[in-house]
């Protein structure tokens, strides 16, 4: 499959994420949209990595180290994102307990 | 070693004072400390010579800065002023109560350490360090113990002086990089041969810093507010001693390092100073507040000193030297009177005062003497200084001297106006039950009056003390 397809798809996914983050007020939805953006980036990383990996295979068929980094990054991102989700969800839960709402605009004051 | 003691004693005493809780202990402790400092200073200045007055050890060697202290004639004069004023201030305001007395007196003593440091520093970085050490306690003193508008006023004061300090720091660093051996020592600054272009530029960096501190028109607007809002004992330190930092620094750091620029810009600065004198005197005529009147009067007097510094002749410079001391004594005397009136009657407005001469004759006599010293009547100390300064200005330019002389007339107008409104006439509601001033204030004022008259009749010792400095500044550039 040409790389362009991945790019188009990821761009779409990322844009959906951005629009969702910008427009929605529900903290959980915003959170999901952030995840969406992260996943778009992950996908793109894997796709590019794969592409570079193929290009990097020498004539002798020995695997080069060139394209592996991208996929390694994806794992890192997924791990960090998982940690982040747990913290983020905990914040949202606390926020719900305090305000009985998950509306992000409700928390516009920085103090008190 | 004497200068080291003079800095260390107030520093340590000040730090100790922070831990004193009782007002009585703090007062007694700080008074005791200031008297010890006075004793050390007098011993050092009058009985010890030579090496005792100098000190030089490596400090920040990598940067080429040494902990070097030196005491010349001008330094002696200002050390005397500083060390005399603090006990005087502590005694005169002995009955004033401040919250957190330990911190109050601690900061006062720290400021004294900084002031003394400025007057003896022989190294630019050290000078800058003490300059800030003197200013920072005063910011706190103003903002924590001041009047109603203290925050805004201190802020203004801080911004003004801090901008000045920063400009000066830039100047110091520039000069530092110009020295061949990368040294902050005063002497290597003196030996610098700057190009005329950079001299003209750096001159202004320093001058503005000092002009703000003096203050010279038009950098003066922080001053009346700060004097008005600070607790009076802090005002005494500021106007009696601290403004002398600016004048002192202009003489020690400006004239010898930038000889060409000082000559070239002398006319601008003298015109500014003389304008400021007339301007401040005129404003003083319309004041209704004792503290603001003294503040503006002080601007006028400082303007004359600044003009005389740049008149570039020995007579004027000699006048500045002794006037630094005399103005300090006189203005502290006036502040003591202002403070006494405010503490007892709860107002500083002339319009609410009157007839005090009937109720408090001793106060009246002392205020009259101080007022006449303020307008430089002959046989008071200020006459000698002003006579020499006007003389110096006259040698520079006749018309400048004549214009500046008009402020002498205006000084009579506003000072006598104050005397009349406060002391004479019939008593009013507030002054009807006024009583005589307390013993400590009375005796301190008597001491000041004796200084005023003694130095007015026989000023020659002071002139002799500073003669060498004047010569060094003007001829050994």
């Amino acid at each position: 499959m040409p790389i362009q397809y991945y790019i188009y798809f990821c761009l779409t996914l990322f844009s959906i994420g951005i629009v969702g983050v910008l427009t929605r007020r529900n903290a959980i939805v915003v959170f999901m949209c952030v995840e969406l953006m992260l996943n778009a980036v992950n996908l793109l990383l894997v796709a590019f990595s794969k592409m570079h990996h193929q290009v990097g295979l020498g004539a002798d068929g020995a695997a080069s180290q060139a394209g592996i980094d991208g996929q390694l990054f994806v794992f890192f991102i997924m791990v960090v994102a998982a940690a982040e989700v747990s913290v983020g969800l905990a914040i949202i839960v606390m926020m719900y307990r305090n305000t009985h709402s998950v509306d992000i605009n409700f928390l516009n004051r920085l103090k008190n | 070693m004497i200068p080291v003691f003079l800095i260390l004693i107030p520093l340590v005493a000040g730090l100790v004072s922070f831990f004193l809780k009782e007002a009585k202990t703090a007062k007694a402790w700080s008074l005791f400390a200031s008297l010890v400092i006075l004793a050390v200073a007098v011993t050092g200045i009058f009985f010890l010579h030579g090496a005792n007055l100098f000190y030089d050890v490596p400090w920040l060697s990598e940067m080429g800065s040494r902990f070097s202290l030196l005491t010349d004639g001008m330094g002696k004069m200002l050390l005397l002023l500083t060390t005399i004023s603090f006990p005087v201030i502590f005694i005169a305001t002995y009955h004033n109560d401040y919250k957190n007395p330990g911190s109050f007196y601690g900061l006062m003593l720290l400021a004294q350490a900084g002031l003394i440091g400025v007057f003896v520093a022989g190294d630019a970085l050290l000078f800058y360090f003490f300059w800030e050490l003197a200013l920072i306690p005063v910011y706190f003193l103003c903002s924590l113990w001041g009047g109603e508008k203290r925050i805004a006023v201190t802020f203004k004061f801080f911004i003004y002086t801090f901008i000045g300090s920063l400009l000066m720091l830039v100047g110091i660093l520039y000069l530092y990089y110009q020295t061949p051996d990368h040294s902050f020592a005063l002497q290597s600054f003196y030996n610098l041969k700057l190009s005329i272009g950079s001299e003209r530029f750096i001159f202004w960096l320093f001058f503005i810093a000092f002009a703000i501190k003096m203050p010279v028109f038009p950098f003066h607007t922080w001053q009346p507010d700060a004097y008005e809002q600070s607790p009076t004992s802090v005002t005494m330190v500021m106007s009696g001693v601290m403004v002398k930092m600016g004048i002192f620094a202009a003489i020690r750091w400006l004239l010898p390092i930038f000889p060409n620029a000082s000559l070239q810009f002398a006319n601008i600065i003298i015109i500014l100073s003389v304008t400021g004198m007339l301007y401040a005197s005129l404003i003083a005529i319309r004041q209704d507040d004792i503290k603001r009147l003294i503040a503006y009067s002080s601007i006028a007097h400082i303007g004359l000193m600044c003009a005389a510094i740049f008149a570039n002749n020995k007579t004027g410079m000699e006048g500045v030297m002794i006037q630094m001391f005399n103005h300090g004594v006189n203005v502290i005397g006036l502040w003591i009177v202002a403070d006494t009136i405010e503490q007892r009657l709860g107002t500083r407005k002339f319009s609410e005062l009157g007839g005090l001469a009937q109720k408090a004759p001793a106060l009246a006599i002392l205020l009259v003497v101080m007022s006449f010293a303020n307008i430089a009547l002959p046989l008071t100390n200020a006459f000698v200084g002003e006579f020499l300064m006007f003389n110096g200005l006259f040698r520079y330019n006749i018309w400048m001297a004549a214009a500046a002389g008009v402020s002498v007339i205006l000084a009579a107008v506003y000072t006598l106006n104050m005397v009349q409104k406060v002391l004479y006439g019939n008593t009013v509601e507030r002054t009807a039950n006024a009583t005589e001033i307390s013993g400590n204030v009375k005796w301190i004022l008597v001491v000041l009056v004796i200084i005023v008259i003694a130095l007015g009749v026989y000023p020659q010792p002071m002139i002799d003390m500073t003669k060498d400095t004047v010569h060094a500044i003007l001829y050994n550039r």
């Binding site: 362009q4 790019i7 983050v21 910008l22 427009t23 007020r25 992000i104 605009n105 928390l107 516009n108 004051r109 920085l110 | 203004k156 911004i159 003066h220 607007t221 301007y279 005129l282 404003i283 005529i285 319309r286 004041q287 020995k314 007579t315 000699e318 007839g355 009937q358 006449f372 009547l377 002959p378 006459f383 000698v384 006579f387 020499l388 006007f390 003389n391 006259f394 040698r395 006749i398 001297a401 004549a402 002389g405 008009v406 002498v408 007339i409 009579a412 107008v413 006598l416 009349q420 002391l423 004479y424 006439g425 019939n426 026989y458 000023p459 020659q460 002139i463 003669k467 004047v470 010569h471």
Partner: protein, 642 residues
């Protein structure tokens, strides 16, 4: 003998200290003994010095170095020569009489204020002595400002009255204007010659160093000082107001001694003035103008002390006329005789005021002749002396000045004589309204009118004798060769000037004619004045026209207020309220306000809306991308993709 010199100012200084410090504990009689005794002691020493000077000439004695800097040296030194010893006698002699008089006049004061009064008076004498004894201009200036200070303190002696305080302040400030001129002249001398000591300045070598412009400028500036101290146009208005002080003060300070300081100073600097003809003309013109101008005002004043004050201004004008035409001896002579008769007039007026319980309006007096015979007689003698009737003292001194002025310009002479006629008129108007006619005060006042105590009458009598015979030390040469003993005594002081000046000698017959003519005119004037006011009724119609103008002193005070005081006040207000607050402070605060306005606007970005933050973040990233990859890269990227 010169070792005693420092004693002369020392006694009054001690008197000042003792009376000032002990004013609460000392009794009134002790205070007056100390106060008067100090001056008497000075007088005795002055007498000794006078005879010493007469025999051996002048001498300078130095106490210590006052100021010694690079460029000049000012010793604290006293010079007692013919001129200063004469002034010493006047100051301490009349000073003593007035101290004696004061001890009775001020007796109603509380002890504390009584002590204060004598302390001030002693301090005044001390300053005045410094002024005349100083051997250089700086010491003279010390005394010069010192007498100004004492004048201020004594005018405002009754400090509960605010009008008096204003008068005191006015006197001090106007004097200060003059003092500035004096000071500048001293600076000029120090600048050009490096000395202000008389003995050094007036040497031929030093005078040669001064260009004629220098001399003119110095003399003009010194004269400005004299205008202030000696109340000449345009700085005269403080003197009439100074009458707010106690009457003996007016007699001592504002008639006999302090106001003649200007004449002393010019007489002292006579060489400089002789070398500056332009200044001399100015001095003469100002003096003459003041003499006439003040005399016109005196014609219509109703306050007994105001009449005398304007008369003093007018007489001082004559002295300056004398100085201006080079008749230095005549001017000093007039200082002396004027000190006698004007002090007498003031003391007489004080005696009247005392008797009338502080009534000063002559319209409410009259007929005091029979109640106060001593005061009346002495006052009459003083009036005759000031009017210039021979052989009273005023005749000789005034005649000497007028004759000398005729030599310079006959116009001076005629105007001067016109002034003398006015003098005769207003003095006898004053005399007639006060002592002749019927009593016009209240009944109660009439009941209490009495002759004063001996402390007051003795000085009156002594001064009256001096006023009558004082002129005999200066009998014109025309009557007898070498009869003018004062001129011979003072000759060493004015010797240089006399050499330089050209002499106008009048024919003896013309001089007799002038004397006779003016005396006759004055007598006619006196008779006219006495007749005019003998039957004066308090109900006489209000004045209008010129006399209203005169009564209001030509509205000069109002003019000064409108032209100088009010504009300055307005300017000060403008500076205080506009320039200071809106201008400089506004500029400073403006910078601050701009910063804080900017940060307030910037703060709105920090709204707390998470959405906004993200939007800004996204936009920033887009912008960042656009900047980071220049146009070309982006175009290529797009081309590649699409």
């Amino acid at each position: 003998m010169s070792k005693l010199v420092f004693l002369v100012p020392l006694f009054p200084l001690l008197g000042f200290l003792v009376n000032g410090l002990g004013r609460k504990s000392m009794s009134k009689s002790l205070v007056s003994v100390v106060g008067s005794g100090a001056i008497l002691a000075s007088f005795v020493v002055s007498l000794l010095l006078f005879f010493d000077v007469k025999a051996n000439g002048g001498a300078v004695s130095t106490l210590f170095n006052f100021i010694d800097v690079d460029g000049f040296k000012i010793p604290f030194a006293f010079q007692v020569d013919q001129l200063s010893s004469l002034f010493l006698l006047i100051i301490t002699g009349i000073g003593f009489l007035i101290h004696l008089y004061s001890s009775a006049y001020m007796h109603e004061e509380e002890p504390q204020h009584f002590g204060r009064y004598f302390a001030y008076l002693n301090l005044f004498v001390f300053s005045m002595l410094l002024l005349v004894m100083g051997a250089n201009y700086v010491i003279m200036f010390i005394g010069w400002e010192g007498v100004g200070l004492c004048s201020y303190l004594l005018i405002g002696f009754w400090f509960k009255n605010n009008n008096y305080n204003y008068a005191a302040r006015k006197a001090f400030v106007m004097n200060r204007i003059g003092d500035l001129g004096f000071l500048l002249a001293v600076f000029w001398l120090l600048f050009k010659l490096g000395t202000a000591t008389y003995g050094e300045v007036f040497t031929a070598a030093n005078l040669a160093k001064l260009s004629s412009f220098d001399i003119t400028a110095i003399t003009m500036l010194l004269f400005v000082g004299a205008m202030g101290k000696s109340a000449q146009i345009p700085l005269y208005t403080w003197l009439p107001d100074a009458m707010a002080g106690p009457t003996p003060v007016s007699a001592l300070i504002h008639a006999a001694t302090m106001v003649t300081a200007g004449i002393y100073m010019i007489a002292r600097s006579n060489i400089l003035y002789t070398m500056a003809p332009a200044t001399q003309t100015l001095v003469a013109v100002i003096g003459l103008a003041t003499a006439i101008f003040a005399a016109t005002i005196a014609l219509k004043q109703n306050d007994i002390k105001k009449v005398l004050a304007y008369s003093t201004v007018s007489q001082l004008g004559y002295m300056f006329l004398g100085l201006g035409v080079g008749a230095y001896t005549g001017a000093v002579f007039h200082v002396m005789t004027h000190a006698f008769f004007k002090a007498l007039l003031f003391l007489g007026a004080g005696s009247v005021i005392h008797a009338m319980h502080h009534e000063q309006d002559i319209r409410k007096m009259g007929g005091l002749k029979k109640h106060m015979p001593v005061t009346h007689l002495t006052f009459l003698l003083a009036c005759l002396a000031i009017a210039g009737i021979p052989p009273f003292s005023g005749f000789f001194s005034k005649d000497e000045i007028l004759t000398a002025s005729y030599g310079v310009s006959p116009l001076y002479y005629y105007i001067g004589v016109a002034g003398a006629l006015m003098t005769a008129f207003y003095m006898f108007r004053l005399y007639t309204l006060t002592f002749l006619g019927k009593f016009r005060g209240t009944h109660e006042q009439e009941h209490h009118v009495h002759e004063s105590r001996w402390q007051m009458t003795v000085p009156l009598i002594v001064l009256a004798i001096l006023s009558v015979v004082g002129g005999l030390v200066g009998i014109p040469e025309v009557f007898a060769e070498h009869a003018h003993s004062l001129e011979h005594f003072l000759a060493p002081i004015f010797a240089e000037s006399a050499k330089m000046a050209e002499h106008h000698h009048l024919e003896a017959s013309q001089e007799y004619l002038m004397m006779g003519g003016s005396t006759l005119a004055i007598i006619i004037m006196i008779v006219f004045a006495v007749n005019r006011y003998k039957k004066y009724q308090a109900t006489e119609a209000e004045n209008a026209g010129v006399s209203k103008l005169l009564e209001n002193k030509w509205y000069i005070d109002e003019l000064y207020d409108a032209v100088i005081v009010n504009p300055l006040n307005a300017l000060a207000g403008f500076f205080k309220n506009i320039i200071e607050k809106s201008g400089i402070d506004g500029l400073v605060n403006g910078v601050g306000r701009m910063v804080s306005y900017g940060s307030r606007q910037l703060r709105l970005l920090q709204s707390g809306q998470v959405g906004n933050y993200i939007l800004i973040m996204v936009l920033a990233m887009v912008v960042f991308f656009l900047i980071w990859f220049n146009d070309n890269t982006i175009v290529q990227l797009f081309n590649k993709l699409f």
